[in-house]
């Protein structure tokens, strides 16, 4: 486990909010030297704390108006059905996230669709036909906030 000091934390906090800050922009806002910032970023990358970047897309501007989270329970469990299910579900292009979870459901899925009728198509033709699928619960996303998390 890696322990961050005050400066590391401030750098990570800035990068969680905006990745393409240059070391000089970071050094100006934190009032430390640019070379120090550069070294810290390098070591955060080397230790794997900073793990690449992620693009934030306005999906509505691309015509995707609906995001739905599905809780999925498998009808039959066992090693084979997990693998079959996972293989099939990850190949659906509208499914952005597949998480294997422990609790009331076996999987959590994030599904994007153009509108509700497009979602119905995905649900009926792709999701409900998945191998081993049992109970499905749908919750339509209304709003989403990213928080900093336990960095500060």
């Amino acid at each position: 486990m890696i322990v961050l000091d005050e400066l590391d934390r401030s750098i990570v906090e800035l990068l969680i909010q905006q990745q393409n800050l240059t070391p000089s922009e970071i050094s100006r806002s934190l009032k430390v030297s640019q070379s120090k910032v550069w070294r810290r970023i390098k070591s955060l990358k080397d230790s794997g704390v900073l793990n690449g970047k992620q693009v934030l897309i306005d999906i509505e501007k691309l015509g995707f108006g609906v995001t739905v989270f599905l809780g999925v329970k498998l009808a039959t469990k066992g090693r084979v059905s997990l693998i079959d299910f996972e293989k099939a579900v990850t190949s659906i292009p509208e499914v952005q996230l597949v998480q294997h979870v422990l609790g009331l459901y076996d999987y959590r899925l994030r599904v994007v669709a153009k509108d509700i009728s497009d979602f119905e198509r995905v649900l009926r033709r792709r999701i409900m036909t998945l191998p081993g699928i049992g109970d499905v619960e749908a919750n339509v996303l209304l709003s989403e906030e990213r928080r900093l998390g336990p960095i500060c």
Partner: protein, 153 residues
């Protein structure tokens, strides 16, 4: 919806598939010059399609071994239940995602915890003290099987 040309769609698909790729690599993949590609990316920023890039944090490296989805149903008979609850939830630093829904679940909080003991203390001392909760249900993450921002454009 924005009207994008097929090459712009190809570019946005490539950026979503591999957000770490530099402009030169993206240009090569979509078959245009680096300058033209850079200009197209600028255009996607200006149109607000690309809102920005953020760093991915590997929380495990920082000792956060557990990730739990708390699915919460609120007592909506109370005045301003959503707002009151959300104001409190935003103060818990181990919460790194807050989503609201239309459905059986009203709010989902993503909790990062170091271990079960830590999780228990967050759950008992902070989550259960939040106002307007009617039901809480937890899903503990075992593994991410697929995680992408890619859209079928």
């Amino acid at each position: 919806m924005q009207n994008l040309t097929s090459v712009e769609k190809r570019l946005i698909r490539n950026i979503m598939d591999d957000p770490n790729a530099g402009t030169a690599k993206l240009a090569e993949r979509v078959g245009m010059s680096t300058t033209a590609c850079w200009r197209k990316i600028e255009k996607l920023h200006q149109l607000g399609i690309i809102k920005g890039f953020v760093a991915n944090i590997n929380w495990r490296r920082l000792g956060y071994e557990l990730e739990v989805s708390l699915r919460i149903t609120l007592d909506k008979t109370q005045k301003d239940a959503f707002e009151t609850f959300l104001v409190g939830a935003r103060k818990i630093k181990e919460v790194n995602e807050i989503q609201t829904f239309l459905g059986r679940v009203d709010v989902r909080l993503n909790i990062l915890a170091k271990n079960l003991e830590h999780y228990q203390s967050i759950y008992r001392d902070e989550i259960l003290k939040l106002p307007c909760i009617s039901e809480v249900e937890a899903l503990m993450l075992i593994s991410d099987i697929k995680k992408t921002n890619t859209l079928p454009v």
